[in-house]
Each structure stands twice: as C-alpha cells, then as structure tokens.
C-alpha cells in the first residue's frame, strides 16, 4: 500500500506540471513530449511546494490527504483549462525508427547506457540512508520537523533560539534557507505514510530523469538530429558529478542546475523564435531558481543582460560591456571590505587562483571530457559567438561565468574553491545550460559548414 501511495506522490506533481504547462494561454501546441514531461515534473514539484506553503499559510494541517486533495483539484482544473488542446504525443520510439543503419544501433546502445545509469543511481538512493553533510545539517532537519508537526515551524538562528524569544522555534545550521527542498522531502514522506530518509530522496532521481527529458526534447526542438541530441543527453546524464548528486541525494545543487538549465534552454528557444511557451517557461523557471537556493537570486538575475541584448542588440551589448567594466573597476576600488548579500556575509578580496579550477575541471574525474568539449566548442566558434542567432545565448553564458568569477576570485568564497568544497557544486549549476550551448554551437557550425564550403568553392 505504501508503495502505491509513494507512486502517487511521485506522479501527482508530474501530472500537475504537465497539465498546467499545456494551458491554452501558454500556447504549447509545438512542444515535443519529452520537453513537456521534463519541464512538467520540475514545474510540478515546485508548484507542489508552493501549494504546501499556501496550505500552511491558511492554517491547514499538512498531510497526504490535504496536499493530495489540493493537487488533484489543481490537476482537474488544469485538465479542464487544457481540454481543447490536442495531445500530440507521438510514439516514443519514432526517433529511433527514423534512423538508419548503424545509427539505430548506436542510438539504442546510448539509450540503454542512460537507462542502466539511472536505474543504478535509483537503487543507490533507495538503499543508502541519508549520507552527505549539508543534507542532514540544513535540509532534512527542516523536513523532519515539518513532517512530524504538520506545519512549517519557524527555524531561527542559534542565538535567537538560545534566547528563547520565539516559542516553538527550531534551529539548524542554515535557518534562513528556502523551504522548497525540505518540502519535497516532506511530501514524499506523507506519500509513504512514514518518515524515511532514504525514500524521501526519490525526487532526485526524477529530477535527473526530467533534466534528461527536457534536454533531449529541447535539443530536438532545435532541430538537432536524434542521435546527436541523445548523445548530448548521455553526456549530461553520464557526468560523474551529476551522478554523485543523484546517488548521494539530499543537496539542492542538482535541482538548482536543473531549474537554471531548463530556464536557459527555454530562453535560448524564445530568443531564437520568440515562441511564447518557451518565453513564459523561461520566466517561470528563472523565478523558480529563487525558490530553490539563495544563489538562485543571482542566477535569475543573469538573464537580465541577455534579455536586454534580445531587445536592444547593439546598444544593449555596449551598455552591458560598460557596466561590466565599471563593475570590475568598482570591485578593485572597493578593495578589501565586507557586506551582507542574499543572507550571506560577503568579504571582498581579490585573488585569482586558477589551479583548483584546472585540477577539478580538466584533471580529476568530476566531469569526464566535458570541459575539453567546452574549450573546443568556444575555440572553434569564437568568431561567431556574437552573431545575431547566438548573441543573447553568449551573453547569458558570459554573465553566468562572470558571476562565478566574481564569487571565486573577488570574495572569501575563494577559500571554498581552494579546498574544493564548493567549486564543482557551483559549476554544476551552469553545466546543463552550458552543454546545451555547446551542442548548439556544434550544430550551428555543422549546418553552416556546407554553405561555407560551397561559397568557397564558387569563389575559387
């Protein structure tokens, strides 16, 4: 029985996301089904946490029944709104059957490799008790309390707790962190009917599945051939560091990467063809980043320069360049100082140490050949990075990398790069977006290569 309700708990958010992303005003008519499923799960699970927060605000006791009922009603409403929309779900194997010869075999092998990987990671989640540090020091702490109490009890800093000023308040190592991730775990435990700090992490597996589906769907939406799209999806889902964050579930970074990646991919599509669904979803998922983790605010803000460039290509680019120069100059002028930002105490101090980055990106086994691929793509496409079709994408990428550069070269976070504790987790946030960008660069290069060769032949 508990497995049945657990399955319901996993499926309801998925269904919720899918039906609402098909709402007629979002104009989802051209969206491929893997895209819808990928965005559907992540959108749905975040919406579930918002529903839980709303129920709590209304004073309704959280339980499987209260949350489940709200989700069912929302699903019914979404289905009713989208009743006129046709379900354009094509047979899932159609991409495989469109291929010929050895490509079909390679497609099947790559797909099997992805499935084997995900099954293995799923089993690791199911068997292993909560393992990684932050998972039990700042996320599952809240989940356990809220699950047992049935409401979102306040978490306060240790000194406030010790002073006893706020009755019934709890504390942990990060009381100010957003509640979305613990609420996902709470919903899983309600679905299961008991506290279980292993099975409550199954959404991390579904997050990886959704990320893969969305990536593949958006790649196909970009007219990337099926085998090439699947190969890049495999690249994404086979990255050791991505796998670690699924297997040792409980950190927010995988969700952060997924939300930022999905927002960026939708933004790329919107910037390319002004597709309304993609634009709306890019906005929703960028805002979703804020609900996942504190740095999500910064990640959401990275879209602003890219949006500016979409609407004012030349002026926007010049303005952003000027602001970037002014920003860097300000950092140097400020020198060593400190201030509070997004709940973090930031100490400014410039020191550029590349060694931890080179070691983690190019030598250690965190990322397979990913960063080599990034370097190759950027080097090969360098003259074309600011052509109109790539401009806003490149600006988003540069803004995201600049954010990381400021954090790791200009603040005290540099120490976390030197001890390797944050470097890969911060990079993980941009990896899905970056891989999609790299795929597009190679794809655009491949498309333009024959045209270039024909022109050259005519000229010579």
């Amino acid at each position: 029985m508990e497995l049945f309700t657990l399955a319901i708990g996993l499926c309801l958010p998925w269904l919720l996301g899918v039906v609402w992303l098909r709402a007629p005003w979002l104009k989802a008519s051209n969206i491929k089904w893997p895209t819808l499923l990928g965005y559907g799960y992540l959108g749905g699970i975040l919406l579930t946490t918002l529903v839980m927060r709303l129920l709590d605000t209304l004073g309704i006791h959280l339980s499987f029944f209260s949350i489940g009922l709200a989700l069912v009603l929302l699903i019914a409403a979404g289905t009713w709104f989208g009743r006129g929309e046709p379900w354009r779900i094509r047979w899932p194997g159609i991409d495989l059957h469109s291929l010929s010869g050895w490509r079909k075999i390679v497609y099947a092998i790559v797909l099997a490799a992805i499935v084997i990987r995900l099954v293995g990671l799923g089993l690791e989640i199911v068997w292993r008790p909560l393992f990684p540090w932050d998972a039990w020091s700042q996320w599952a702490t809240k989940a356990r309390v809220w699950y047992e109490l049935g409401h979102l009890a306040a978490f306060v800093p240790a000194d406030v707790w010790l002073g006893g000023e706020l009755a019934g308040a709890y504390t942990d190592t990060a009381p100010h962190y957003p509640p979305a991730i613990p609420l996902i775990q709470v919903w899983m435990c309600y679905s299961l009917g008991r506290w279980d700090d292993t099975l409550m992490n199954l959404p991390w597996l579904l997050c990886a599945v959704a990320l893969g589906l969305a990536f593949y769907g958006q790649a196909r939406q970009w007219q990337v051939p099926p085998l090439f799209a699947l190969m890049f999806t495999y690249f994404l889902l086979s990255l050791p560091f991505v796998n670690v964050h699924v297997a040792l579930a409980g950190y927010t970074d995988l969700f952060m990467a997924a939300f930022y990646g999905l927002a960026a991919m939708a933004f790329f599509h919107w910037a390319r063809k002004r597709d309304f669904w993609q634009g709306a979803v890019a906005l929703l998922f960028a805002l979703g980043c804020i609900l996942i983790k504190q740095p999500g605010i910064a990640w959401a803000l990275t879209f602003l320069p890219a949006i500016l460039v979409v609407f004012m290509p030349r002026a926007g680019l010049m303005l952003i360049s000027a602001m970037a120069i002014a920003g860097v100059a300000t950092l140097f002028v400020l020198g060593e100082t400190d201030f509070k930002l997004f709940g973090y105490h930031v100490y400014l101090r410039f020191s550029a140490d590349w060694q931890p980055f080179l070691q983690n990106m190019l030598v250690m086994e965190n990322w397979h050949l990913f960063w080599y691929l990034v370097v190759a793509a950027l080097a090969l496409s360098f003259p074309r990075l600011l052509i109109p079709s790539l401009r806003s994408m490149t600006v988003l990428l540069v803004t995201a990398i600049s954010f990381l550069a400021v954090v790791f070269f200009f603040t005290h976070a540099q120490a976390w790069a030197e001890d390797y504790t944050t470097i890969n987790r911060a990079l993980l946030h941009i990896v899905p977006m970056l891989l999609f960008y790299v795929m597009v660069l190679f794809r655009e290069a491949a498309v333009s290569l024959p045209t270039f060769m024909t022109t050259r032949q005519k000229l010579t």
Partner: protein, 395 residues
C-alpha cells in the same frame, strides 16, 4: 549528421559506409602511438621478463619482534613490543631487484592505528625502508621500480608493524610481481578499475584516490581523442579519407564512453557494497549498520529517555561530524547543537543537555552539579550515562 565537403569518389563512399569502424580504428591508432611515445619516455623496466613471480604465504614469515604465531598459512601478530613494534622477516633466495616491480601484501584485521613498512636488505648489507599505504582498508601494491634503492641483489625482506594493535593482525601472504610490459599494463588497468568508494568529500569532488596517478585516465583519454581527431584531419587533408563530422563525433563519443565505462564499473562496485550493507532494511536499521552507528544508537537511547513533548535539547560534541549528524538524529525534538556549552544563565530549567564525545565537562553526582568551562555550573539530573556520553535534565 554526416557532412560531405566534396563529392566523393566511389571508393571513398565505401570508406564512408564503414565510418562506424573508422572512428574506433583511429582511436586505437592514436592510443598505440601515444602509448609507444609514453613508454619510450617513461618505461625503465624490461619489455618482457623471464623471471617468475615470487609468492610466499604468511606462515613462511618469521616473527623476530613482537608476539604471535603461524596459523594455517597465515602469520598472526597478537602483540607489539614495548616499543610498539613488530617485525616479520623473510629470507628469500637471492634475486635481482630489477626483475621485480611491485610488492603485494595481503593483510587483514588492521585497525586505523596500525602503520606498516616494508624493508629490504641488499647484498651490500644496506637496509632500505618504505611505508606501506592503506586505501579502502587494503594495502596498496608498493611500486618498487621507481625506487632508486631497489637495485642489485636482494637477500632479505621484512615487514614492520607500528602503532596500536587493538586486535590481532593477520598477514596472509607476500608476493613480488615481475617487471614486464604486459604485467605493468594489466596492473595499470586494474588500478583504473579499483573501487573509489563514496566518501564524505564525494559530494564536493571525486579525487580518484584509488586510481593510478601516474597515468591519469582523463588526461590519457583526452590526449588520445585529440590525436585521433588530428589524424582524422590529416587523412582528410591528404585525401586518404573524406572529412566526416560523424566520424569526429564518433571519436569523441568513444573517448567519453571509455571513461564512462570505468565510472560505471565503479558505480556497480559501489552499488554492490551499498546493497550488502543496507538493502532490505528499514531506515532505522540502515543507520544502525552505517559507519556512524554508535552515534545513532546513542541518540536513539537518549530519545527513549525523553518525554514525547520535550522542551529544548542542548547537544554538545567536540567532533563536528558527531555534532551535526547527532543533531539531525535528534529531530523532530527541538535541538541545538554546539561545540561549547554556553554560560549557565542561557540554560533554562527543564532544558535537556546531551553530551557525545565531549571533553571538559564534569558531573558531581553527590551535588547533582554539572560543571564546565570557567567555573560554570548548574543543577542537573543524570538520566543516562553510556561510554562517556550522557544526558542530563536541568533543575
């Protein structure tokens, strides 16, 4: 995804149809070229060796310092000398050091406090020593070929055990691996596929501790892929083979796939361990068989002493891990985890104080007084005391 730059003659089209074979062939050629260059530069041993591996079981070792006995092909070391040392020696037939590249030692029952060294004596009566390295509770093979003192005739071998022996140490066997290219290559492959299990740091980075650092798999594959792509380009420029994007992607994909096979093998090995340790257990049973089970057990016992609706629990430990993880186990109780006890004025009547692996706190039973720090004290009842850890209720 194949892109033709020129119209192909029929023979080249045939080549293109076989592009699925061309990518692995180019990759293989690249791997061979780089291997030869690498070996030419780095390989100091013999390409082939006629020497046979030397293998001894533990019972063939003689314990010359410390206490122990031989038992069923094993040497059991029960106790160290007063100086905290045990020495087991071996007098092999004289052999040439250059014929053997690695020492393998099979040992069981070692606890974290145990350190081991390998000694050898040359025909010139010079003695050399090298520490043995533990990784994942097994001794790493000792690479001797790189040691400048591993030269000439060897007449004696010995193993030194130091530190604290909390349980008997079993030496199962010692072996010397021969120097030859096939053996070295197979050892390298074995190391590439050695389990690199989950650690506390895995969520931050994968250091590949267990993997051979001499030939880093990622750097090796990256170099092989780059050379294969360059060969592809050269063959296209010289019109031996058409430039084909699919072939280039085939090379990149295969390089990635090879790395991923190693990673997948690691995940499978890890999954097997996870299955053995945790599968089929409830979430509480899983914590009870985990490495930090003592902590979970302590918190469980403390929680059993607490009423359902308690006030505040102040939990202290000197160890950061025990502090954080212990606090997690306390929830949903209202707990605060800290390193140091606060001033007594901040602790209220009815508060509970739990101590785990905490030094510098005393309890006077007769006075029912908990004393810590710079003269801080308060009245408290002792509710639980086990293995130096305790629970108190403040009066």
């Amino acid at each position: 995804m194949s892109i033709q730059l020129d119209t192909l003659p029929v023979s080249n089209k045939k080549v293109l149809r076989q592009e699925w074979l061309a990518a692995p062939m180019l990759l293989l050629a690249s791997a061979l070229i780089l291997s030869i260059i690498f070996l030419q530069d780095k390989w100091t041993g013999k390409w082939m060796s006629s020497a046979k591996p030397l293998i001894w079981n533990g019972a063939e070792l003689t314990l010359i310092k410390g206490r122990g006995y031989s038992d069923q092909d094993k040497l059991v070391i029960k106790k160290l000398t007063k100086q905290g040392i045990a020495v087991a020696s071996l007098s092999p037939p004289t052999f040439q050091a250059e014929d053997y590249s690695a020492i393998n030692l099979s040992v069981s029952g070692a606890t974290p406090g145990v350190k081991m060294e390998f000694l050898w004596r040359t025909a010139e009566n010079r003695v050399f020593v090298r520490p043995l390295i533990w990784a994942n509770q097994t001794l790493q093979p000792l690479e001797m070929a790189v040691d400048k003192n591993w030269r000439g005739q060897i007449i004696d071998l010995a193993i030194v055990v130091k530190g604290t022996l909390t349980e008997p140490l079993l030496i199962n066997g010692v072996s010397l691996g021969t120097v030859s290219l096939p053996v070295a290559l197979s050892n390298m492959l074995k190391k590439w596929f050695t389990l690199d299990r989950w650690q506390g740091t895995s969520i931050h980075f994968l250091d590949g501790d267990a993997i051979d650092k001499n030939i880093n798999p990622l750097l090796a594959i990256a170099a092989i892929v780059c050379l294969a792509l360059a060969l592809n380009l050269i063959l296209a420029i010289t019109k031996i083979m058409p430039l084909n994007v699919a072939m280039a992607w085939g090379i990149i994909f295969l390089g990635w796939f090879i790395l991923d096979v190693r990673w997948q093998a690691n995940l499978f090995q890890q999954l097997e361990l996870t299955h053995q340790q945790f599968a089929g257990k409830t979430w509480e049973e899983k914590h009870l068989v985990a490495e930090d089970n003592a902590l979970f057990d302590f918190v469980r016992n403390v929680k059993a002493k607490l009423p359902t609706a308690t006030g505040r629990i102040l939990y202290f430990s000197d160890d950061a891990y025990s502090r954080g993880k212990g606090a997690y186990h306390f929830y949903p109780q209202n707990v605060l985890a800290r390193n140091h006890l606060p001033p007594a004025s901040q602790i209220k009547t009815g508060d509970y104080i739990a101590l785990f692996a905490k030094k510098g706190v005393k309890y006077d039973r007769s006075q029912q007084l908990l004393i810590w720090g710079d003269g801080q004290s308060l009245k408290a009842d002792l509710l639980l005391f086990a293995k130096g850890n305790a629970l108190f209720k403040v009066h």
